[in-house]
Amino acid sequence: MELPAGDPRALVPLSSSAFYILLALAAEERHGYSIAKEVEDATNGSVHLGPGTLYRLIKQMVTDGWIVEVDRVDSEDPRRRYYRLTPWGRRIARAEAARLADAVRTAMDRRLLSANAFA
């Protein structure tokens, strides 16, 4: 099935690292290190983003317009750069989340996952 251009579903599935970065930026803008930290916390330490992987993905996302660099005067460390999700980036994150939710529903139907897993 050919998806129309501009449909974020054409871009999913994302790599898990990319998705976690988008998740980390969904709530607030963050600098690079804080993204990595947030991902590590949110996954109880099971996902570790090394600096190379992190900034390579950031660079790619900036180039593709998923996130933007923002100027923050209040930054305590001038070396830090902050990133914010663009509306386009948000749509992509939603598409990926929807895809994952579908997968989870299927897993429940097939009894791979208990229906009250989220209770």
Partner: protein, 856 residues
């Protein structure tokens, strides 16, 4: 840790570093793990690779739009890199790889360095290597002689080649047995007939049967017991340096009698003790030589032993030839790179505007430079792939030529080292071809290019750079053509050397050992020879046939002292000559003229007075001022033939036994008076196809000697070709390379002149509008070509002179500064340079003034 981080960051592209380096640095304040460094390093490499692949894809896309350009560059690179890979593969296999023996650097060849200052190999007596065991820097010594003949095993006769060796041979070379054992000193004891055979013979004639150990076979009729099978793939060291593995080995005795001292026929080798030097060993050998001279003044008065490393002896001449050819192909690669450099320069300069635009859009000069280099690299890689295929094909096509010309040529192949070399060549070619045009792009600030381009303002600096490359091309091509010209002249000299024998219509057999070597009487040998000769004479188309103990240009050269009766000689100056035993028609078969007296006839028999014939060189050197006819000379027996004072009955013309050396004094005795155990057949059959007569000769051998495998047959032309194989190989290769170099250089001239005419079309247009004639314009273009060529030729002459001096030893009698070669090449270079620029020059005259102004 911080320093490590910065180092790891260097792996990443600069863009990434500039943008994220500070952030990564800041993040490291919170703690840094080893896995983070690994992650960073892998990311850096990944980003670089992605950039590279993107640039390569971009380059490929752009190149697809210029198929003609790509074809020319790829062909140029394919020739340059292909020639390099092919020659490197040969050089590597023949010269660079260590000899296939255990610790080959410790192995030396022993010479008896006397007579005429030339080192004489294969000239040791059995006593010599045994005496040399007293030299403390020798760990072991051995000597060997070629053997061979017919082996009769399991009721099947087959031809075999072998070596008789002093058993330390196996220790010295580190050769081991896979079955049974290698030979031991006791195998040389009287009455012991033990041999070892090669893995190959074991498989082909004994079905790889392990019970072969202890089995008795017959070698030329003599029973021999097989005590071992040698491990496969172990080469032999033989007197000819071919490294060809042998079918069998037999032991020489470890004790020498006084009589053994007189027979010098062995090639000597030794292993030095660790850390022993050649010089100190030679000093020891000099002492030994002096001692032997005193102990055995009659026999050993001329002994001067010396050693050289086996490597330089076996590979020396091949190594110098291959290094010359290697230098030539490196020159070709340089020319190819200069050519491509100019083509790339022309191509990129027409993209000035595009590059300027991209630069204005923020692409760094470095990035653009990288992209252009990658374009060059992509071209070099495609060229190299084609070149490796070309090299593979060339090595296959040349395999026959190589096999005769070079030792261990059979090991030549395109292997890992060749491919590594090809990769190196790609990198070198990319940088060499890409950097010069880049330099010319890099300096003018692109802003001004943006304005100036398209108005035909040929940046003169750029033109100069391009001309410089052409000057270099012309210089290198000239040097290469000179070197190949000198080689051709020396080769022509070599092959046109009169050998003193008929070059056409003569077929000779290889050496055959008559059966029952140790049992047969001289009378039995003579009877077998008469039968064989009669059969040969009866063959259709044979005008004359003869038997001889050694065939012309053959491997054996039996030399002995032949003093004249009644004369005394100072020690060391007795007549020394090649001795040959022949049937009467030998001279007729080979077309050797009779100068005085008579040749042998059927009355010269065992019962009649001993007679001899000497050649002109013998008469001139040893019988000066006297009538040679009637002089008696000592004919020393060999192969159990009698020693006689023989009267000279005739003088014949000289024949050469080595092409590059002047004829050696020689004397002949009738085969009937000295029937040797080794025999070769010669026939003169000019009207019959050589293959047909060879087959019939084999038939004659089979008829006369049914238990002996008939020997190989050769035409004299083949023997000459074999003797000159190395020179032929070098000549063919250098001429081919010179042609490639010349074509590349000319296409370089053509390209540069064409480009410059295009660039100057406005100028020409204006000048034509102002009344310039065709002559003026053509003269202008050609004048520039001449100036460039003259400069290139001047530099080329210097390079050629240096190169010619370096190869002087390979040129024989041709002077390295041979004026004919130099003059011819210079004239040729100028004429072809003018020819290459004629077409663009004429194009310049056809420029329409109006169009030129409208152009662009």
């Amino acid at each position: 840790m911080r320093t490590l981080l910065r180092l790891v960051l260097l792996l990443a592209p600069r863009e990434f570093r500039d943008h994220y380096g500070a952030q990564i640095d800041a993040a490291a304040d919170e703690g840094l793990h080893a896995r983070d460094l690994v992650d960073l390093a892998l990311t850096g490499i990944r980003l670089r690779l992605e950039d590279f692949l993107r640039d390569a894809a971009y380059a490929l896309r752009r190149l697809r739009a210029a198929p003609l350009f790509v074809a020319i560059v790829v062909i140029t690179f394919a020739l340059g890199i292909g020639a390099n890979v092919a020659v490197f593969s040969v050089l590597n296999a023949v010269v660079l790889k260590p000899l296939p023996f255990k610790d080959p650097n410790g192995i030396v060849v022993i010479f008896d360095g006397v007579r005429g200052g030339a080192k004489v190999p294969d000239n040791l007596s059995l006593a010599d290597p045994l005496d040399m065991r007293s030299v403390p820097t020798f760990a072991a010594t051995t000597a060997l002689a070629g053997d061979g003949g017919t082996m009769l095993a399991r009721n099947t006769p087959f031809a075999v080649s072998g070596l008789d060796v002093i058993p330390d041979y196996f220790n010295i070379l580190g050769i081991t047995a896979e079955l049974g054992r290698v030979l031991e000193p006791s195998d040389g004891d009287p009455g012991v007939h033990d041999i070892v055979i090669s893995d190959e013979v074991w498989r082909s004639h004994f079905n790889a049967d392990p019970s072969v150990i202890g089995e008795t076979v017959r070698l030329n009729g003599v029973p021999e017991r097989i005590v071992g099978v040698l491990r496969a793939g172990q080469p032999a060291l033989d007197p000819n340096g071919s490294l060809r593995s042998q079918d069998f080995y037999a032991a020489l005795p470890e004790r020498a009698t006084f009589a053994d001292r007189e027979e010098r026929y062995l090639a000597g080798f030794a292993r030095l003790v660790p850390a022993a030097s050649i010089a100190s060993t030679n000093a020891q050998l000099a002492l030994l030589s002096t001692r032997l001279q005193k102990l055995y003044p009659k026999i050993d008065h001329d002994r001067v032993f010396s050693i050289v490393p086996v490597r330089s002896e076996l590979l020396g001449s091949a190594a110098s030839v291959l290094w010359i050819i290697f230098a030539a192909v490196v020159g070709i690669l340089l020319i190819a790179c200069a050519n491509v450099g100019n083509l790339l320069g022309a191509r990129w300069s027409t993209r000035d505007r595009e590059l300027a635009v991209r630069s204005a859009l923020g692409a760094s000069a470095r990035r653009i430079g990288t992209q252009l280099l990658i374009e060059a690299g992509v071209l070099a890689t495609i060229g190299a792939a084609a070149g490796v295929a070309l090299a593979y094909g060339a090595l296959h096509a040349l395999a026959g030529l190589l096999a005769n010309a070079l030792p261990r040529a059979s090991t030549v192949q395109i292997d890992g080292a060749s491919l590594l070399y090809a990769i190196g060549a790609v990198i070198a070619a990319t940088l060499l071809a890409g950097v010069t045009p880049l330099l010319s792009l890099a300096n003018p600030d692109l802003q001004s290019v943006l304005k100036a381009a398209g108005r035909g303002g040929d940046a003169s600096a750029r033109h100069r750079l391009r001309s410089t490359l052409v000057v270099l091309e012309i210089a290198l091509a000239l040097a290469l053509v000179v070197v190949s010209g000198l080689t051709v002249r020396s080769f022509i000299n070599l092959v046109s050397t009169p050998l003193g024998i008929r070059p056409n219509g003569v077929i000779t057999s290889g050496l055959t050992m008559l059966p029952e070597k140790n049992l047969g009487t001289l009378a039995a040998r003579a009877a077998m020879q008469r039968d064989l000769l009669a059969r040969l004479q009866a063959l259709p188309g044979v005008r004359a046939a003869a038997l001889t103990a050694q065939y012309p240009l053959g491997p054996v050269s039996n030399r002995s002292n032949a003093p004249v009766f009644g004369r005394t000689y100072p020690i060391g100056s007795e007549p020394h000559a090649t001795a040959n035993n022949v049937t009467p028609d030998y001279f007729r078969v080979l077309g050797i003229p009779l100068l005085r007296g008579r040749v042998f006839d059927s009355d010269d028999t065992m019962g009649s007075a001993p007679v001899a014939i000497v050649n002109e060189a013998f008469a001139q050197r040893y019988l000066q001022g006297m009538n040679p006819i009637g002089v008696r000379i000592l004919s020393q027996g060999w192969n159990d033939t009698p020693t006689n004072w023989a009267s000279v009955v005739g003088v014949v013309g000289d024949e050469r036994d080595k092409i590059a050396q002047p004829p050696f004094p020689e004397f002949f005795v009738p085969m009937a008076q000295g029937p040797t155990a080794y025999t070769c057949a010669l026939v003169y059959a000019p009207d019959v196809d050589a293959a047909v007569i060879a087959r019939e000769m084999k038939g004659a051998f089979a008829g006369a000697l049914p238990t002996v495998q008939p020997p190989g047959m050769y035409t004299v032309a083949q023997l000459v070709a074999d003797h000159t194989a190395q020179e032929r190989f070098a000549t063919i290769l250098l001429v081919t390379l010179a042609v490639i170099a010349l074509v590349l250089a000319l296409s370089g001239i053509f390209g540069v002149v064409s480009f410059s005419v295009t660039q100057r079309s406005r100028e020409f247009g204006v000048r034509i509008a102002h009344g310039a004639t065709t002559r003026n314009i053509v003269a202008d273009v050609l004048r520039r070509t001449l100036a460039t060529t003259a400069l290139g030729a001047a530099i080329g002459l210097v390079i050629a002179a240096v190169a010619a001096r370096a190869i002087a030893s390979q040129l024989g009698t041709v002077s390295p500064f041979d004026p004919i070669t130099f003059t011819t090449v210079i004239v040729m270079i100028f004429l072809s340079a003018l020819l290459a620029s004629l077409h663009p020059a004429l194009r310049a005259t056809r420029i329409q003034p109006v169009e030129a102004l409208r152009y662009e």
